[in-house]
Symmetry: C2
Subunit: 429 residues, 2 copies
């Protein structure tokens, strides 16, 4: 539009030069002033903030980072600006993924890699982020447009592809391996992958990629009836992978694809998806900036405002070969890990400064103490087995089976049979 307006002005100049009559020249002047007015309006509408080199903690209205840098002064994080070093890949830019991307962008994350093959539709307008005028655009293009406007400091990479195709998977893998953003980084080129997809197949592909790359990731999901969701941290070799604990849909022998029938669409709510995205990115920030504790699995039951938590160990008979590799490595590295932990503990004890957290606590801010936690989240953990059964099963969102640590680590054909029976009993209700 800007180029078009410039062309217009230059055409008017040549026309004016070639005209002799006063009245014609006057009319050209009038037209010119209209075009200049349009140009000014256009410039104003596109006035985006310029890039900011260093994050400042200065408390002025014009500083987009003042409220984030305040996390340091409040003693929540040690070094907020480190966020600029991190790369996050978000797979699926739908109701959860798009909001997660916006939150990370507003937090000033270093680099975001966005993966989706779908287009924006008016039917998506019941969730946050996309706007009606973006209908028809690819979700990746629309997201880059919006996110660039919000924060030009974030490096955005957009991949309009389906990771479940052979070609898509290849590009997915090579983009994750690319380390040009931070060549010194160990492992892959990203610090965390957030899975925000809506189907089992895509989750299995993310799982495969992460097991192969030894890449920590977080999974998220929202049920088809829109009133429950979950997030889960997956560390290859250390926690259960997505294939370790087969979702009930698989255990019951039902092909998920047959459940996605023509004319049947899942319900969704901006509230549930906003909460799940918020919990997902909050745990992402805790993981990256090392504050609070990252929750291994957190459920959200919207009908009762109930939030079950749990942990899952890897399955030593997991069907995923890369997971088995990571498990072996994890066991082999145990002595080194134990030694490092003991050393860190000793150093911490030597340099202990009691109460230093509250040293300049002029706001009297304190966090829930351990006693509380014992009563709160541990009480919830105790109720996990039942809590998770009742989120199940959902065709579109992966839900964990009702496995305790013991059953996970000894899952066999018989256990699957047992799961199948449990599912059938549920269905018969």
């Amino acid at each position: 539009m800007e180029a078009e307006l410039k062309g217009l002005l230059s055409d008017l100049h040549s026309l004016k030069d070639s005209l002799r009559e006063r009245s014609h020249k006057d009319l050209i002047d009038k037209i010119q002033s209209r075009v200049e007015h349009l140009s000014a309006a256009e410039k104003l509408a596109n006035a985006h903030r310029s890039k900011i080199k260093d994050m400042s903690a200065e408390v002025v209205d014009s500083n987009p980072y003042s409220r984030l840098m305040a996390l340091q002064r409040m003693g929540i994080v040690d070094n907020y600006e480190r966020i600029r070093d991190f790369s996050i890949a978000i797979v699926g830019i739908g109701g959860v993924g798009s909001v997660a991307a916006e939150m990370l962008t507003r937090c000033g994350i270093g680099r975001l890699l966005l993966y989706d093959y779908d287009k924006v539709e008016l039917a998506n307008m019941n969730r946050l982020f996309f706007r009606p005028e973006q209908a028809g655009m690819t979700k990746t293009d629309a997201a880059v447009q919006t996110l660039t406007d919000i924060n030009p400091d974030v490096v955005l990479e957009s991949y309009t592809l389906n990771i479940t195709t052979v070609q898509g998977f290849e590009i997915f893998m090579s983009s994750l391996k690319n380390k040009s953003f931070r060549p010194d980084k160990e492992g892959s080129g990203v610090d965390l992958i957030l899975s925000c997809v809506d189907n089992y197949e895509a989750r299995m592909v993310v799982n495969q990629a992460c097991n192969e790359l030894n890449q920590t990731w977080m999974e998220s999901g929202v049920s088809e009836n829109a009133v429950s969701g979950h997030i889960q941290l997956l560390v290859p070799g250390e926690t259960a992978c997505f294939a370790c604990a087969p979702p009930l849909v698989v255990a019951s022998g039902v092909d998920e694809r047959t459940l996605k029938r023509e004319g049947v669409c899942a319900a969704s709510l901006p509230t549930t998806m906003g909460v799940v995205a918020g919990l997902l990115v909050q745990n992402t920030l805790k993981y990256l900036l090392k504050f609070g504790s990252v929750t291994p699995y957190l459920g959200y039951n919207a009908l009762k405002d109930y939030f079950p938590t749990m942990e899952m160990k890897p399955n030593p008979q997991c069907s995923n070969a890369a997971c088995m590799e990571r498990q072996k490595e994890y066991i082999l590295a145990k002595p080194a890990r134990d030694a490092a932990a003991a050393k860190a503990k000793m150093e911490a004890e030597e340099s202990v400064e009691p109460e230093c957290l509250h040293d300049d606590n002029e706001w009297n801010i304190s966090v829930v103490d351990d006693d509380n936690d014992a009563q709160g989240s541990k009480a919830s953990s105790g109720a996990v087995t039942e809590g998770l059964v009742h989120e199940l099963p959902s065709a579109d969102a992966f839900q964990q089976p009702p496995v305790t640590e013991e059953t996970t680590t000894t899952t066999t054909g018989d256990d699957l049979e047992e799961l199948r029976k449990q599912l059938e009993a549920l269905n018969a209700d």
Copy 2:
């Protein structure tokens, strides 16, 4: 801009008519085609969807309500379209209020009343909703601009005023009483007020208005260190009002205004505010559309993903005269309430259809059962006294004092003294 482009075209027409040379006419044609191109681009950029008369459940990409109407088919709500009958007032269009407004707009709420006196600044960009190019606009104007684009079906009323001034309070009250949207509605003109303000004084004003109008409302808040928040349901006469249980800041005799010093700004995160807004609007939807259970008080501790719940009865010695009136009315209406409840129970028992909820449960969706709830949220309730202490005290966000049901209903000067001592003990830690 559209008018300017039309004027341009008409000026070009007159110029062309008065010119004789072929080369001049050709140049005008070229300029005209440029302007037409600009007009087309302009129209495309402003192509908003038209209003929709009835909410349809039809599953097509062009239907913005299909995923919401699906809540009926899934058995979550009885009649989703009822949402169009409701009016919600949101006081404070900041990090929580703006996201709550967007969620309700995308859900197709009937009417939204928005109150704020502040302007958008770049310093707000670390939270969702506002865009950098809106810096300098009032938050109400910017919100109306964005929300109208998202869903033109919602009736938006914007009040750019400070409710804590005498004049502002008068307009606030009269706007809440206005019943022109639904003249047959009982009580005030709104169905619920959401308090999303960031200071104690404004909360006390909302409390006063709601006690006077006998208006149910929900309160929300986020702590100054950005890592905890809460929502609370307040029903005049039935639950504690905001003055029934004085926040610790008051109990300790510290004037909150002295805590808001120059150059000191609170930390904030889009995650915490997104989660609080999501929980707030989710409970709003449950309240309006009668599904699930509305949580009386729900806390969110982001560091530990801990969600305490509690209930608070009104204080029979509340300092708020209007609250005391509502309490008297509530007690007087008890026999009628009991009779109605007994009748409803009897009717429900007569027409009971066991298992009907799961009759066509082809997705095998079930909700957490009561046993679970007993283990989950009740366990959390048990930890409430401590849980709430540790969110305290925050100058900017109202936090509940560590009161059990008993102490609330017998709050006296001695209890306040006790609270003050507890606070001092906390500070001394």
